[in-house]
Amino acid sequence: MTTFNKYTLTSLFLLVFLANTHAQNSGFLGKKNMFSISTGGGIRVLPIILPEVGEVNNLNYNKYNESDDSFDEKKNLFKWNVNFSYKRLIKRNLAIGIMGQYTTYQASSNVFGSAYYSFSDYDYYGNYTINPSRISSPKFNVFSLRPVITLSPKKSLLPMGISHTFGLGFSVMQMNTNKEYYFAGSPILPGEYGATGPLETHQLIAPEGFKNNYWGLDFFYSASINYPITRFMMIEFGYDMRVGYAFPNRGKRMANETLFDTNSDMERISERILNEDFQDALAREGMFSILSLRLGLVFVF
């Protein structure tokens, strides 16, 4: 976490504390603090409706099959998330607090596969382009933290019943480096490299090189219902709308280290591919699964 995040957190707690000084005597049986933990999931609506836009396929991802050293193309239909929040009631129909969310982005199969590049260094034989190559699609962990404001209709009484939560915060996206990723492909079209034939590489990517964070903004809205089951616990269900946006990060290398053990050509190619295509994929992904249904528990105290 950066200094910026710490500052944000401090501000949020201060905000909650100040709000508390004006608190009115309301709440659920006099209790005004709410801690909730919930899980949610949604369909990746846009990729399902429009799987391919141009040469980009956002629906599928590649899974490396270790047993026969091959890639399977799988469909990425759902996305899930885990949320937690702490809120404090400041009026009968108003609460403020902070909310955290964890979700994952599965990069699509085309991140490497369908992009074509030209390299002037190889202009002697014409433009070299990357033959459609494949990589086991990397996963990204996405952590969001946002201040939230929760409102309920005038006649309702927080935390029970229907409520609307709005939030605007930051998210940080990190490649899941606990997994191994494989690359298979050639920077040169078959037959164009003379007698040597197409150059095939088939290598393990060193994920340690992906430790840099991508940053983004996210806007959050949630409509939910809290249904009391005991004096201190409620069931929460509803749906969320989250629109994520990844900040442009062009020119900055994602991988600072050499990802491939051999072949300086691959090295240069891959650096550009990874930086730009990852960013594109992340930026798109935030828009692909806007809606998710949520179910969780709220503890009131």
Binding site: F28, V45, M160, G161, I162, I225, N226, I229, R231, G238
Partner: protein, 717 residues
């Protein structure tokens, strides 16, 4: 306390849960048992049923003449002026006060009871249910269904008459009274007696209502005996009388008794019922009917304080409704009133606003003068003055300080003087004119404003329509009246001034002020409150689901039972749960509160005076507070409209967003609370919380907790 009142509906249903009624399946039997208990318990819980009193005891004794002492039938009195009696599957026979008030002797009551006992013995309620099920399933049009139902119902009425006559005969009553019972039913729309109110009834030293205000001709009493009963539940009177005649002629051993119990007991009970009809009329805002019944009772009970107080309440009610512009809602069109009462209703219609307000206040003031020290009468008097102060056309300065009679005499005298002067010489005439000119300034002012009674020309006639201007001649000189009037007037003016100031404010400021006022209404700083038994209703689509409502109500009562308020507010529960510990005392408290609530809510916009003023005072003394909260929970499940289904089918993606919203919004709980004050006899606040989602006990408890917190706070907190 009888079990009929003490047990909860679900307890009664549980007791009979294994009963399967002949001719009905298990499920239908269950539905039937649940239905009858729910329906009858609604009446038992209405606050309008009484037991253990002299009327109930007398009716039970007459009933026992028919059934014998060991019958399982229970008799209760229903506080209603409708002339009726009805029996239930449970073995309860309800007799209305209206019926008791109208009967002429014990034998007539005995036949009505015998008829109802016959319904019970022949299990007509169950039979009727079976027929209803059968008819509902049949494939005929609605008109035919109604006729068929009516036919079945009439058959049962004939059967009840037949069996009833046998029971009646066996008890030893006279056959002549049988036919008179039908007259009671036929003319039940009329008061319990018919007497013309002489115009002199209204005349006092101060008030004289001119003869021209009383109609001498009015609609005769006419009613058809042989009306079309093809869609009625009961046969017409003609058919019943003819049928009874056949049965009566076939029985030889008729008794002679009109009374088997002491005759004075009947008249005593009937008088109680007749006094009660006045109270019922006041509760139902039938002020004209109440005044007429009071007149009838006054003939037998002159100067009876209860009647006089009721009279003051009735007139004060008319005054208030006239001032508030809702007079027609509490008066009956004279064209609908037959016989002697027509004259009174005609008078009430004929009096214009100023006249009515004055006459009504005069009546209240007369009662005040009769009982000057009585607290209730003083409260009615203040209530009437408060409304006088609200009436813009009422100005004390308009009223003369002399009585009608004095004015009339003065007028006649001045007319005589004019005639006399006319016969004198011209010099003498000049003398009269000169005399006029020599009047002092103050005499002239008095004459021009308050001395209309003086004839200025020999052709003048005494203006009878101004009769009301003399009616308060003594009151306007009374300091107590003047002080009270001025005080109410200045309160009103201060309020109006405040309202005017508010109107001058900017919109945002008005909005803020309104918000503050709303807050103040509920944040009353209360430390104790009476919680009237709450009600729960389950609504599915547009219908009330009786079964679910009952379940919800049981849940709600459980919540109330374990709910003891919080550390700041003491809650005094008044409801059926408390019957088990406090018995009839609590039943009466609840009945009084329910009556007050329904009385207040009828015309929420008009301030009304409590009918049971002293009873309310007792409740305030008993509990130490007059603030009463009534909670009603409505659990709603809205069905998805076909229009939405079609829309979502055409645009499936819309469903993704609209679906969850629709689902979440289709279930909600309305938690409504009305707080009223027995001391001011007005509502303090109505609140309604609407919580989305299913209704649960925990939710109800939380809402009650919140409500108590709100009323405990003061607005500056």
């Amino acid at each position: 306390m009888p079990d009929d009142f003490a047990l909860m509906t679900f307890e009664k249903v549980n007791e009979e849960k294994d009963i399967v009624i002949d001719g009905l399946g298990k499920k239908e039997s269950k539905e039937f048992i649940k239905g009858i208990h729910y329906g009858i318990d609604e009446i038992l819980r209405s606050g309008r049923v009484i037991y253990g009193d002299e009327m109930t005891e007398y009716v039970t004794r007459v009933g026992e003449k028919i059934t014998g002492k060991n019958s399982d039938i229970r008799f209760y009195i229903l506080r209603s002026n409708v002339v009726n009696a009805f029996s239930t599957k449970q073995g309860i026979i309800f007799v209305t006060e209206g019926l008791l008030a109208q009967l002429s002797n014990e034998a007539q009551l005995a036949f009505v009871l015998a008829h109802e006992i016959a319904h019970y013995q022949k299990e007509h309620v169950v039979e009727g249910y079976k027929e209803n099920v059968e008819i509902a399933r049949s494939r005929v049009n609605n008109d035919s269904k109604i006729k068929q139902l009516s036919q079945y119902s009439k058959e049962k009425e004939f059967e009840a008459d037949g069996v009833g006559i046998e029971l009646y005969n066996a008890a030893g009553y006279s056959k002549e009274e049988l036919f008179d019972v039908f007259d009671v039913l036929l003319y039940s729309y009329l008061p319990f007696d018919l007497k013309s109110i002489p115009s002199t009834y209204w005349n006092t030293d101060q008030l004289v209502i001119p003869e021209s205000y009383f109609e001498t001709e009015f609609p005769d009493i006419s009613v058809e005996k042989d009306y079309d009963d093809s869609k009625s539940s009961h046969p017409n009177i003609q058919s019943r009388s003819e049928m009874i005649l056949d049965i009566v002629e076939n029985i030889n051993n008729w008794g002679e008794a009109r009374f088997l119990l002491p005759e004075e007991d009947f008249y005593h009970v009937r008088n109680i019922a007749r006094f009660e009809t006045v109270r019922n009329d006041l509760y139902a805002f039938r002020y004209g009917d109440a005044i007429y019944s009071i007149y009838l009772l006054e003939q037998e009970f002159p100067n009876n304080k209860y009647l006089q107080v009721c009279k003051a309440k009735a007139w004060a009610g008319l005054l208030a409704f006239k001032v508030e512009g809702r007079y027609t809602s509490v008066t009956t069109s004279p064209s609908k009133v037959q016989g002697d009462p027509h004259q009174l209703h005609q008078l009430l219609k004929k009096l214009d606003k100023k006249q009515l307000v004055t006459v009504a206040f005069r009546q209240v003031a007369d009662v005040k003068q009769q009982f000057p020290e009585d607290g209730e009468v003083e409260a009615i008097y203040q209530y009437a003055i408060q409304h006088l102060a609200r009436e813009k056309n009422f100005k004390i300065s308009d009223y003369y300080e002399i009585s009608y009679q004095e004015a009339y005499d003065a007028f006649q005298k001045s007319l005589d003087e004019l005639n006399k002067a006319d016969s004198l010489t011209s010099t003498d005439t000049t003398e009269v004119v000169k005399e006029e000119k020599e009047l002092s300034k103050y005499e002239k002012i008095k004459r021009s404003t308050g001395a209309k009674e003086v004839a200025t020309s020999k052709d003048d006639k005494f203006d009878e329509d101004d009769f009301y201007l003399y009616a308060l001649s003594d009151i306007i000189k009374d300091d107590h009246f003047k002080q009270s009037y001025d005080s109410h007037k200045s309160d009103l003016e201060a309020k109006e001034e405040e309202e005017e100031k508010k109107r001058q404010l900017a919109y945002s400021e008005r909005k803020r002020l309104k918000k503050q006022e709303d807050k103040e209404k509920i944040q009353m700083g209360l430390e104790e409150i009476i919680l009237l038994e709450p009600r729960a209703i389950q609504v599915k689509g547009n219908d009330i689901d009786i079964e679910k409502s009952e379940e919800l109500e049981i849940d709600l009562r459980e919540v109330v039972e374990r709910f003891h308020g919080n550390s700041n507010v003491s809650v005094y529960k008044v409801g059926s749960h408390e019957y088990k510990s406090h018995g009839t005392y609590m039943y009466n408290q609840k009945a009084a509160l329910v009556n007050s609530l329904s009385h207040l809510i009828e015309y929420e916009e008009v301030s009304v005076f409590p009918v049971d003023y002293n009873l309310n005072k007792e409740i305030i003394n008993d509990f130490g507070t007059g603030k009463v909260a009534f909670i009603i929970i409505q659990s709603v499940h809205q069905r998805l409209s076909p229009r939405k289904i079609v829309f979502y089918s055409i645009f499936p993606p819309v469903w993704l967003i609209a679906g969850p919203v629709t689902f979440m919004k289709s279930f909600y709980t309305n938690f409504g609370v009305a707080v009223f004050d027995l001391e001011t006899y007005a509502f303090n606040v109505f609140t309604n919380q609407q919580i989305s989602g299913f209704t649960s006990k925990m939710e109800m408890e939380a809402l009650m907790y919140d409500f108590l917190n709100q009323i405990n706070k003061t607005s500056d907190q």
